[in-house]
Amino acid sequence: MYIIISGSNNITLDLAKKLIAEGHEITFIDPDKNKSDEIEKNIGFVSLVGTSYNKNSLIEAGIERADIFVASNINDEINFVATHVAKNLNEEITTINLINNIDNKNIFLGDEFDYIVEFDEIISGNLHSFISEKSEQIVYTNTDNHTEIVIIDAGKGSDLIGKSVEELNLPSESEIIAIISSSGTIEHNFANTINPLDKILIQIPIRYKAND
């Protein structure tokens, strides 16, 4: 696919590296010549010095043949207008917008905005996953077969709650041993969904963390 990225920063540089490794074609648009030079130097693909809400810059970048437009500047106003222009030039393009200020979310809901990614949501999601890891407890390590027994506490607000065992996305070769309810009942029938305060007893390969 051909992807145009407006705004170069650590997020989009990392994204571009991954996309190129997967065989996609990328062009960055950024008004800062220094950033553009750095992209060329480090990643080695075409980078365009220009303003992403400028029609001519987008046409020069090939917006009419692009499949995806990513607006990921640190300024929501620029992302907003750039996406308007991109969609106006190519109705078929899929747009992805980074929202920096969650208070602005309600105006990124028009037809131009196919996908929105909230910066706050990314951060809070990551923080939550780190905190969730704290609720894991290794109770036994078996070095002979390279497994460990782990208890995961679903807590009161974990994203595990309401999921079935199949939905837990555990690493392969994992095995659920039991689910212990808050009342102390030990359940070996895993047909039900996870309830608040359930504790899940799992055997997993040592090299994995339970929620990888």
Partner: protein
């Protein structure tokens, strides 16, 4: 009638000249102090200049307190963003934005946005803002 103007630009001066005498109250909001503009307008009784560094966060409040809003800063991206934010909050209020880039101006005009261009100022006396 209370008209709020967001942003100070040459077009702000121009429009105040056109409608200033026809309007009871004009509030001009700016993120920074513009001394030339203040000097020119501070003696006019119906014009109040409000310097608000948090202007972007107060758009909803301003729109709730205004009869009409003109967004006339020098930044097309701010003007477009503020316009859509206000329209999204309060669709019924008359909101007009200035767009200086001709391509953007034509795009928003084709989307039926209420938009003015510095290149077309002479075509209107802007009294429709007061009368409508």
């Amino acid at each position: 009638m209370k008209i709020s103007i967001l942003g100070i630009s040459n077009v702000t001066d121009y429009i105040i000249e056109k409608i200033g005498n026809q309007t009871e109250e004009i509030l001009v909001y700016s993120e920074i102090t513009d001394f030339d503009f203040e000097l020119k307008n501070s003696s006019k009784k119906n014009i109040t200049i409000v310097v608000d560094p948090n202007l972007k966060s107060n758009l909803e409040k301003i729109s709730n307190e205004s009869n009409k809003i003109l967004i006339l800063s020098n930044s097309d991206t701010f003007n477009s963003f503020a316009y859509h934010k206000i329209i999204n909050t309060n669709e019924s209020i008359m909101t007009i934005m200035l767009i200086q880039n001709l391509d953007l101006y034509e795009m928003y005009k084709s989307k039926n946005c209420r938009v003015i261009s510095p290149f077309e100022l002479e075509k209107s006396d802007f009294l429709y803002i007061v009368k409508e």
